[in-house]
Amino acid sequence: MRPIPTFDKPLLSVRNLRTSFFQDEGTTKAVDGASFDVEPRKTLAIVGESGCGKSVTAQSILRIVDRPGRIVDGEIILTRADGSQTDLVKLDANGAEMRSIRGGEIGLVFQEPMTSFSPVHTIGAQLVEAIRLHNDVSKQEARRLGIEALRSVGIPKPERRIDEYSFELSGGLRQRAMIAVALSCDPRLLIADEPTTALDVTTQAQILDLLRTLQRERGMAIMLITHNLGVVAEMADDVVVMYLGRVVEQGSVDAIFHDPKHPYTKALLQSIPSIESVPKQKLPTISGSIPHPFNRPRGCPFHPRCVSAMPGRCDTADPTLCEIGDGRKASCFLYS
């Protein structure tokens, strides 16, 4: 494995990203000003409820946002292997450069192992295709590399499995194969969008172990998208909390879990059932529910459900993400 070069700069830097979906019924601001950095060799977890824009952020980075969605503002700055920086937003989504980055420098592992593979092509066909897209090798060589890739993710008898169809593999094996495809070209950043949500708990643990091992071996960075705080605690170095398309808090995993600053983060952590909680007590939940995307509240997006909301301030102005010391950031009027 070639050593992944590191520089002083973050591997990936997202600045003020805005992605919106333009439909007849209205415009949905799926990502509404998100900013965060991914450090090389580290794992960044992006946490939030369904619909907060985590997946769309990942798609925006890879420039595969589906119509009618479009990136409308912001920068996504990738530090390349030679130290130069490229703004991914400015590239042509279907152009050669973006396509070589996609799958080559940034890999994607998806949530749905069931349907992430084409049902009518073998695993091997899709694996070999990915390899040959980013490496100039012959078919036989690519096949050999593919078998190696399957072996490296712990799939037994890879030389047989490579010719099987996705429906012939179990869920766990399928997800491993998915990871193999994503890693087959040695990406410097792996984006994992809910990689374990569709798996049972035992397989979940195995896949997370695998990801950690591979990260150590290859020195790659992982951007882990999940709504499962347990997974975050296990895997992440840094955490970004998103709500309604915005980053509301950012910090190291220890800081976030032991000393959450934003009311939303606090509420999320409180709502996790814990072995230490008092029995027969009602589990705290966050009151209300996520607003309809066409119906965003004025002011801070969280204020209607916030226990610390300050009337007059929180319902009129928009808080911005600012430093609150120790490398932590929060987007809340309590701190600014």
């Binding site: 996609r102 799958g103 890999g107 749905e112 593979f117 084409s118 049902p119 009518v120 092509h121």
Partner: protein, 331 residues
Amino acid sequence: MVAYIVRRLVLAVMTVWAISVLSFLIIHLPPGDYVTSYIASMSASGSAVSADEAQALREQLGLDKPIHVQYAKWMGLILQGNFGMAMEWGRPVADVIGDRLMLTMVISVAAIVFTWGLALPIGIYSAVKPYSIADYAFTLIGFIGLAIPGFLLALVVMYIGFAYFGANVGGLFSPDFAEAPWSPAKLWDLTKHLPIPAIVLGVAGTAQLIRIMRSNLLDELRKPYVMTARARGLSEYRTIMRYPVRVALNPFISTIGYLLPYVVSGSIIVSLVLSLPTVGPLLLKALIAQDMFLAGTIILLLGVMTVIGTFLSDLLLMWVDPRIRLGRDGR
């Protein structure tokens, strides 16, 4: 896979059986039987048939036996290749049908090839760029194609050909080749005459297939594996052609099963209007003349050819879809 083939084969056989029963019923539906029409045609030419002679004839032909016995006899004869006599023509049915059945299948297949050739790219384009001007235009043309019954289109084509070009655009052969024995030259002549019948027959089916392809592909395009293919770095064109199109192709291929009967059906009337030497005009004449053996046999053979075609398309589908080959997906 074997289970699949056996299932489709059993279904095909059952369908053929059902068609044979229906054909037999049609043959015997009109009042009177073969002997009655025989007597009628004899007396028309001047000779009379006595009641005893009629009875003897009936016994000889087994017409006094119960209907299921007659059916069994008829099926027995058919399986030996004896299709009975065409009364109007006074010749064996097989002779009268001759080339026509094969030609019917030729234009049907040509129509299907045309239909596919057009529907596939248009369907793909409409799905990839939905709600664009081209999409609406194709949808509209498709609708019009759906709305015009084949024979009307044939009429219009004939009319235009005659009125503006003074040419008779019907027929499958030029006059010199019509009765000639088969040769490469005759084959070429046939090919030159195929486009118009193929297009006229195929237009309605094209519209349907475009809609099917469009909606299937639209569904597939939303699925995750398309996104992962893109995420691997494939170009947009390759992403779409290699993956969702390939998957959407399967239900597309399975439509032959219904397209073939539809096209064969349509060819009957279209060949009447375009004066094609196929089974259509022959069937109509037979029905009007109440020559039931000829008519019933034609219906039977048409049905059988269609079932064979459908079965072949099932095999094609199996070859193309690994899910069926390996026995998954409950098919």
